[in-house]
């Protein structure tokens, strides 16, 4: 626990990031400072990826113990992203393809701009059901299962294999809750709304959560890239 710290802005950063950097520095010789810097940044990224927030105030990695825990996450992350084989995800290929097709219905590609598939909305959804709110995974499992059951009964095909227009009509029926209830283990409308909100977040939200690849939607809207300034970089404090 950090108590009664000097509040000056710079040392505040020294408090959290500096602590970590110090540890890293002590592990590496000074010639490798630059590497240490990279590690620090990578740790931050890993933390984003793995959403390691477990303290009362959601503050992060301020203690040695937490550092070590996060270092473990970091190496797991490195292994995960280093070995080339994607780990087993929360969804089967069939489920994944179905979700990709549904998200693409929410934000389809057009002649100029990419859609949900190009933006990697599925990555965002996978983050949501694994790292952010795993308690929602059963909703997705049941939802996709119901979609496929209804699709197969109505069209003898999985949802992702229907043509685009048929998919659209299917989604409209889901939204309007106009589908045969016997195929559904959850409310079609509720599942539709879930896909809608998550697709929009994945497409229009910040890229650091897996979607909006290369700021695709920001570019589409002609928005300035977010200014990347930070208190510790801007130098606005003296």
């Amino acid at each position: 626990m950090r108590s009664g710290e000097n509040p000056a802005v710079k040392s505040r950063h020294g408090g959290a990031c500096g602590h970590r950097a110090e540890l890293v520095n002590s592990l590496l010789n000074p010639g490798l400072k630059r590497l240490a810097q990279c590690v620090r940044i990578f740790l931050l990224k890993c933390r984003d990826l793995f959403n390691c927030t477990n303290t009362v105030g959601e503050s992060i990695m301020t203690t040695r113990r937490e550092f070590i825990r996060n270092a473990a996450v970091f190496s797991a992350g490195a292994a995960l992203y280093g070995c080339g084989n994607p780990p087993e995800g929360p969804f089967s290929k069939n489920e994944r393809d179905c979700l990709i097709a549904m998200a693409e219905q929410i934000i389809p590609a057009d002649k100029i701009y990419g859609g949900a598939t190009d933006a990697g909305v599925i990555n965002y959804i996978e983050n949501w059901v694994t790292r952010y709110w795993p308690e929602t995974l059963p909703l997705y499992k049941k939802g996709v299962e119901s979609v496929q059951r209804a699709s197969r009964r109505m069209h003898s095909k999985d949802f992702q294999d229907l043509d685009f227009a048929t998919q659209t009509r299917f989604m409209e029926a889901m939204e309007g809750a106009k589908l045969d209830a016997k195929d559904w283990s959850i409310s079609p409308r509720a599942f539709f709304d879930e896909i809608l909100i998550r697709s929009m977040q994945g497409f229009y939200g910040s890229p650091r959560h897996g979607g909006n690849k290369n700021f695709m939607s920001y570019r589409m809207l002609g928005m300035d890239m977010p200014v990347v300034t930070g208190q510790n970089r801007y130098g606005g404090n003296s």
Binding site: M1, R2, S3, G4, E5, N6, P7, V9, R12, G15, A16, C17, T53, N54, T55, V56, G57, E58, S59, I60, T62, T63, Q105, I106, I107, P108, D110, Y113, G115, Y132, W133, T168, M171, E175, L196, S199, M200, Q201, F203, Y204, G205, S206, R208, H209, M220, L221, G222, M223, D224, P226, V227, V228, T229, G230, Q231, N232, Y234, G236, N237, S238
Partner: protein, 560 residues
């Protein structure tokens, strides 16, 4: 759990380093009072949040970056079957201020409003309102005016009320000049407001329009409301009063310290018990205790603090604790134009008009209407004009075409406090420490007159947009905002109201808890009503006053 850690005695423990608590600690420290400031969160760190729309403190689509961790600290809502369940942990069911040093003041939109003189005596201005718990404040605008001034100077407000005929009286000018209007406000919104005979003026902001107090001037970032400032130009308690308090050497800040009981011996508090991150229990003895944990959490802590004299919770001897909690109904309208109108200078929200605030002859005491803060793409994707699809290629085309064609005018409705709206604690649901959680009432109970005011505000916002030339106007008042958030959203207030009559209030006019010798409340809980404006400057002003009162009670009064 290890045995309790007992600390050496201090003079005052302040619970919560937010808007109120930070100021109380500063007032004590500069008067030579030794104090310990307990905060459940940690120092906020800019890098955690930079420009990320999905985790910011305003929309918290995934979570709220500055806490609290809603998984560990759930809130209970009714499951509709007589039981309870945890509220959905993200917006809008789980609205919270924050859990970090500075709390909401780190990420707020930073509108720094004074309430109007009438806001302190609603009952005498409008008469008793049936079915409500409306009361006059036990203090007047004149009592609080010097403290408003102190808040404006010590925390820092940019403003200019010269074009607002309804501006509350003030002795000194603002310490910083007002922000200039954004292009769309100056050229589209303001002329329309004026043509309707209303009176636009720049919104007073707790943000530096010029270099102030050793920190930079605002750089007009998009991501301001809901975000920490990249150049530290937004003034919260974390970068103003709390550093001052710590510098005196009289105040110690303990972060990651979750207060769970004010320990009472008869009428006297003898200290505060809290948990650290390892769930160790600590006891901090003190001569006096100030609770400033925000309206919901202050009431919860008091419910948890049972003693012989207060078996139903500290300050609950008259069954008033937690009652009358309210915030604001937010309402307004969107206008959709047939050309690009927005020039994207952050953070938006430059103009306001408060003509609707107090027209006693018409029973209107609505609130202020303002242009809206800059919103990022996801938030905008949820704004669907009529005849626009919610999804699919039509929605995408709408986004591309209309992204810069929308102007929004919104504001907080002065809500009428209701006796039945109450913070409770729910023993069936426990938080990470094993403590009963806050029980939320979705939407709370709204007085019909509050809804009427909402309508008036919405219509007025819509009229301005129409006058400004919007081709389509979407009113979003009642529908969108009425039920959002459990009671106790970001403007939560009123759960431990102040009063002259101990039977009808929790604290006395000095903000000391009735029937105690040394327990004080220093946050928005004490508001009798919450004005037609965002509440924080009033919370701050009261905290300056309460801090002084506490110091006086310890024989260390007088100017600092």
């Amino acid at each position: 759990m290890a045995s309790e850690i007992v600390h050496p005695k201090t003079e005052v423990v302040v619970v919560g380093a937010g808007a109120g608590g930070g100021i109380v600690a500063k007032q004590l420290a500069v008067r030579g009072v030794k104090c310990i400031l307990l905060e459940r969160g940690d120092w906020p760190i800019y890098d955690e949040n930079s420009n990320d729309e999905l985790i910011n403190q305003r929309t918290h689509a995934i979570r709220a970056i500055h806490g609290p961790d809603t998984r560990k600290f759930p809130r209970a809502v009714s499951d509709g079957k007589g039981g309870v369940k945890a509220a959905d942990p993200w917006w809008p069911d789980h609205t919270v201020v924050a859990a970090c040093v500075g709390s909401g003041t780190v990420t707020y939109g930073a509108m720094g409003w004074r309430f109007m003189p009438q806001d302190f005596r609603l009952k005498s201005t409008y008469g008793a309102i049936e079915g409500s718990a409306l009361e006059d404040w036990p203090i007047s605008y004149d009592d609080i005016e010097p403290y408003y001034e102190q808040a404006e100077y010590e925390v820092g407000v940019s403003g200019d009320m010269s074009t607002n005929p309804y501006a509350p009286p003030r002795k000194k000018p603002f310490p910083m000049p007002a922000f200039e209007y954004n292009w769309e406000d100056e050229n589209i919104v303001i002329p329309a407001i004026k043509r309707l005979g209303l009176h636009p003026f720049p919104i007073p902001m707790l943000r530096n329009s010029v270099r102030y107090n050793g920190r930079a001037a605002c750089i007009r970032n998009h991501t301001c409301c809901g975000y920490m400032c990249p150049c530290d130009a937004k003034n919260g308690t974390q970068n103003t009063v709390i550093p001052v308090a710590l510098k005196t050497g009289n105040c110690q800040l303990r972060t990651n310290s979750f207060a769970y009981e004010v320990v009472m011996e008869g009428r006297r508090a003898v200290g505060v018990k809290y948990f650290d991150l390892d769930k160790n229990s600590h006891f901090q003895p003190a001569d006096a205790v100030v609770i400033a944990a925000s309206a919901t959490e202050t009431a919860r802590l008091m419910f948890l603090s049972k003693s012989k004299l207060f078996p139903d919770g500290l300050g609950n001897q008259n069954d008033m604790l937690g009652r009358c909690i309210h915030s604001h109904i937010y309402c307004g309208a969107w206008g959709l134009f047939d050309r690009d109108v927005e020039r994207e200078l952050g953070p938006g929200a430059t103009v306001a008009f408060s003509d609707l605030n107090h027209i006693p002859s018409k029973n209107i005491f609505a609130g202020v209407l303002c242009s809206e803060f800059y919103m990022l793409p996801w938030a905008r994707s949820k704004v669907i004009p009529p005849n626009t699809p919610r999804w699919g290629i039509g929605h995408k085309q709408h986004m591309i075409k209309n992204y810069r064609r929308m102007i929004r005018i919104v504001g907080p409705v002065q809500e009428i406090p209701m006796y039945e709206s109450r913070v409770g604690i729910e023993p069936r649901l426990k938080d990470w420490f094993g403590l009963p959680v806050y029980r939320a009432m979705p939407g709370g109970k709204k007085h019909p007159l509050s809804l009427e005011q909402t309508k008036i505000m919405t219509e007025t916002a819509a009229a301005v947009l129409k006058e400004a030339g919007a081709k389509t106007v979407c009113k979003e008042g009642e529908k969108v905002y009425l039920n959002y958030g459990s009671v106790g959203g970001q403007h939560q207030a009123g759960s431990c109201r102040m009063g002259n009559d101990p039977k009808k209030s929790v604290v006395d006019p000095q903000c000391k808890v009735w029937d105690t010798d040394n327990v004080w409340i220093g946050d928005g809980s004490v508001h009798v009503s919450n004005g037609g404006f965002n509440p924080v400057l009033t919370i701050m002003a009261l905290a300056f006053r309460t801090g002084e009162n506490v110091a006086k009670s310890l024989g260390k009064g007088g100017a600092a």
